[in-house]
């Protein structure tokens, strides 16, 4: 009986080597071909082994595929921010994955309240660093020097330094860096406490530093790709040492100057990439898990992983294993330095810190235009889902649960539309009464009429112009639609050129969506398309991670 099943699995496995649901983190403005539907939870599968992984592991996909082929098993990998993985884990027994692979074991500890992760193994590790353009690092005098967070803050406050960083409420690299900032700026206490967080001076300093972020996203992998593809626009990014290495390989191949790795001594963190087994009672799957771990930790694969710029070893990382072409000292990569991560605060304080970032407004505020398609084709399911999405943001209990709370500094411009924009509702802040009124308006929307996306987005952009320069904001459009618009993209292209700043357009598709127009819109604005059909809430949260 068992033998027959293995044979079947083997046949299916070799016939169906799929990796569906890939959250295309290689997307950027220049290459918006694939749709990110990836954040929706899959259904549990008896035969396929499904893994949810941090986006920083994408480069290892070929290794996983090879394992799947050799082992004769169907392996599916979905990429998400680590904090999303934490939120998924909170689902407990209903989690449809067989394994989780966030960037840091912290997110398993925090999320696994029902103890569904039966065992875990760290596969590799990588410190979170600042990757600073060589010319900028020289200008600031950071090359070959010990740099502390206070030095970085000083440069930021003087307007001499800006950087890209992922959202601390979606991605591990952003969260780790943020906790590092707090720890250092609080004077390096034994560990961060509520008292530290309540200190207004600490809040102001952290705000000042976060205010110099020029690009956000929910994914470390996406951020790396975006910075590389738009290198002229950036000075630096916070990311894993491994992704700085990946970026530099591409940059130097293009004849561009590399990013220099800066390790702030008082604000460091290390991602330990734990692969955790989620037990659904299948001995077969447990065997696959243990085989996969053994495979990834086997000598040959370990060397391959190191070749990709990840630190890996039975104990720590042996500097002798580091190929200097990969762990390149010319890029500031330092395998001899002792990386001492900040001591982590207690769980309640960590959660408090994340809420302070999101709702408390330490993060750089967003200026978001919500273009809501209320045309006739959205009637029924479409407009219901659209309203649910907006409720996630405007209902304080729901927004807190998924960490997308508005802050007192955020600007929201809501533009319900059909053939023309119906109205433009501009608001600022997070006053509960005001949010309630906005929610009421959204819930009262009725579907009907034709569709012109372009007019609606342009209408919102016009309104946003009244708020003045957007230096201190992340502007973005979140467009919720089923596509199929009248009108011409040319009007939008012109409007984007005349806006005075970049304003990426993130589309969330509903109903019977036609993505082609939306892909074009994403491409000309540096945005992305998210499939909201399977899981609108996830798509919405994913989109919010970008501003």
């Amino acid at each position: 009986m068992i033998a027959l099943r293995s044979l079947l699995l083997g046949t299916l496995g070799t016939a169906l080597l799929l990796a569906v649901g890939c959250n295309g983190s290689s997307n950027s403005g220049g290459n918006a071909k694939s749709v990110s539907g990836g954040n929706a939870l899959p259904t549990y599968s008896d035969k396929a082994f499904q893994i949810v992984s941090g986006s920083e592991n994408e480069a290892l996909k070929p290794i996983l595929d090879r394992f799947a082929k050799e082992r004769g098993v169907e392996l599916r990998v979905q990429y998400k921010g680590s904090i999303d993985i934490m939120l998924d884990l909170e689902q407990g027994r209903n989690l449809p994955y067989d394994a989780v692979w966030p960037a840091n074991s912290l997110w398993i500890s925090l999320g696994d309240t029902e103890k569904v992760v039966k065992s875990q193994e760290s596969i590799m590790h990588s410190p979170v660093v600042f990757g600073v353009k060589q010319s900028v690092a020289k200008r600031l005098g950071w090359i070959g020097k010990e740099v502390k967070i206070a030095n970085i803050l000083k440069a930021a406050q003087a307007g001499q330094f800006s950087f890209a960083m992922t959202s601390a409420t979606q991605s591990n690299s952003g969260a780790s860096a943020y906790l590092g900032f707090l720890h250092a700026l609080a004077g390096s206490p034994d560990f961060l406490t509520s008292k530290n967080l309540a200190d207004l001076q600490l809040q102001e300093k952290t705000k000042a530093l976060l205010g110099r972020i020029d690009r956000s996203s929910g994914s470390s992998g996406w951020l790396k790709t975006h910075v590389v593809e738009n290198y002229d626009k950036f000075q630096a990014m916070v990311n894993y040492e491994s992704l700085i290495i990946e970026a530099n390989k591409e940059l130097t191949a293009q004849g561009k100057e590399p990013l220099i790795a800066i390790y702030p001594t008082d604000g460091l963190s290390i991602s330990d990439s734990p692969l955790g087994y989620v037990d659904h009672g299948s001995q077969e799957k447990e065997k696959i898990f243990t085989d996969l771990v053994a495979y990834l930790k086997s000598e040959l694969v370990r060397k391959e992983i190191i070749g990709l710029g990840r630190r890996a070893g039975l104990v720590g990382f042996d500097a002798k294993d580091a190929d200097p072409a990969v762990f390149n000292p010319d890029w500031g990569i330092d395998v001899n330095r002792v990386i001492a991560p900040i001591p982590l605060p207690k769980e309640e304080v960590l959660r408090e810190a994340l809420n302070l970032y999101q709702a408390g407004g330490l993060r750089k505020p967003s200026a978001t235009i919500f273009a809501l398609d209320c045309s006739g084709s959205m009637e029924g399911k479409g407009i219901t889902q659209l309203k649910e999405a907006m409720t996630l943001l405007l209902d304080p209990i729901k927004s807190k649960k998924i960490l997308i709370q508005p802050s007192s500094r955020d600007i929201h411009i809501i533009v319900p539309f059909d053939a023309t924009p119906r109205e433009v509702i501009a608001s600022k802040g997070n006053d509960p009464q005001m949010l309630k009124e906005l929610l009421g308006k959204v819930q009262g929307l009725q579907a009907g009429g034709e569709t012109n996306i372009y007019a609606a987005v342009i209408g919102g952009m016009e309104e946003l112009k009244k708020a003045g320069p957007m230096d201190g904001y992340f502007p973005a459009v979140i467009l919720m639609t089923d596509g199929r618009s009248d009108g011409s993209i040319e009007s939008l292209r012109e409007a984007l050129q005349n806006q005075g700043y970049d304003i990426p357009i993130f589309s969330i598709t509903f109903g019977d969506a036609d993505e082609r127009q939306l892909q074009d819109i994403a491409r000309i604005s540096g945005g992305k398309v998210f499939d909201g059909r399977k899981d609108m809430a996830k798509a919405f949260r994913d989109a919010k991670g970008y501003n």
Binding site: K118, D272, L314, V315
Partner: protein
């Protein structure tokens, strides 16, 4: 009732040769097992024994799970005693107070305090017997060890064997000295990381060691404990987020902590890890320094039997062959008094032959008082 047996565990050259030839008897085939020594192996890999074996079920501390899954161990138990064990992983305090005992024949915590707690609450308790002992140790990297040697806090007794003057180390921590103060090249204050003392055995053993040390090396009692509790609380209050399992803290240490931290663990963890990774013996010993606190405390691994079947388990576990295997392959010292371990059987320089300076843990009431105080943090 404790049985004391005189004797020594003899090194069997045959056993050693077999161990060397098969690479330690476990963990050489890459596709077989998850990395042992993590203490978090899935316990559903239990498979049903042949018909004439008696299956005995019970709660077991996480650090013993690897031993129970050891093929050689299972064979001895099956062939000699016609037994198979079905373990359920649980924390010591958890299993001693309130865990569901339906269908269980024994509990096997990691300390004696849990036995006392269990007896207090439970009529079902039968005999108890200490099966293994493992001393508490501190794991760190050689850079830190060298720094502590220069300060006269760590002393090399002989090649590979290092003791740390626990009183002096504790003083450094209480005085908030930094790593740079001991010649290290990274930020932060000197600290020993441990598991949550209110949840995990190694953390609460460590708490016992700390209170005695703060009491000038004398075991605390219900009166003297009050004078050291404030300082004890201050120390633990500085620890932030703590892991709840000794397996996790050891694993995290091995991954990212070998050069920047000191962590509490059991001696058995490094032995088990090296035996499971025989080809990396040199790498591990070159990277990890085992510091034996002087004085240290024993973690005692007693089985409490709940019925006749549990009694049979105790009998089997006291078998000399079982005891030898437990040492050779998993680093558990015998629980039977006056048995000396053979370092050479495990081919490790870093293991002490005898643990000479031990402090007894505080009594049950005192211990409860300590844990209550720490729960307030």
């Amino acid at each position: 009732m404790r049985t004391i047996v005189n004797g020594t565990i003899l090194p069997l050259s045959v056993v050693v040769a077999v161990l060397l030839a098969t690479g330690g008897g476990c963990g050489t085939s890459p596709s077989v097992q998850p990395n042992p020594g993590s203490g978090t192996a899935p316990n559903s890999s239990y498979s049903a024994p042949p018909g004439n074996l008696l299956t005995i079920a019970g709660y077991v501390g996480g650090e013993k799970i690897q031993l129970l899954q050891n093929e050689n161990f299972r064979r001895i138990l099956a062939d000699k005693y016609h037994l198979a064990i079905k373990p359920t992983k649980a924390g010591s305090i958890e299993m001693a107070s309130g865990a569901d005992l339906t269908g269980k024949d024994f509990i096997w915590p990691s300390n004696d305090f849990a036995v006392k707690l269990f007896r207090d609450g439970n009529r079902k308790a039968g005999k108890d017997q200490i099966i293994f002992n493992s001393p508490l140790v501190i794991y760190t990297g050689w850079n830190i060890a060298d720094g502590l040697i220069k300060q006269g806090i760590v002393e090399k007794r002989r090649e590979g064997y290092f003791i740390v003057n626990f009183q002096k180390l504790l003083t450094m921590i209480v005085e908030r000295k930094t790593w740079r103060d001991i010649g290290q090249d990274f930020d932060g204050k000197i600290m020993i990381r441990c598991t949550d003392p209110t949840k995990s055995n190694s953390g609460n053993m460590f708490a016992g060691l700390v209170v005695n040390t703060l009491n000038n090396g004398e075991v605390v009692d219900e009166t003297s404990v009050e004078s050291v509790l404030p300082k004890t609380k201050q120390l633990f209050a500085r620890l932030g987020m703590m892991e709840t399992s000794s397996g996790d803290i050891f694993r995290n240490f091995l991954t990212t902590g070998t050069r920047n931290s000191m962590v509490i663990g059991y001696e058995s963890q490094i032995v088990e890890f090296i035996v499971a990774n025989p080809k990396s013996r040199k790498l591990i010993q070159d990277t990890v320094c085992v510091l034996y606190p002087e004085p240290t405390v024993w973690s005692s691994h007693p089985i409490v039997s709940l019925n006749d079947r549990g009694d049979r388990l105790i009998e089997a576990m006291m078998d000399e062959e079982v005891q030898r295997l437990a040492w050779n392959e998993h680093g558990f010292r015998s629980g039977l008094a006056e048995i000396r371990v053979d370092k050479h059987a495990v081919q490790l320089d870093c293991i002490a032959e005898e643990i000479q300076v031990v402090t007894p843990l505080p009594g049950k009431k005192t211990f409860l008082r300590i844990l209550d105080a720490l729960k307030e943090l």
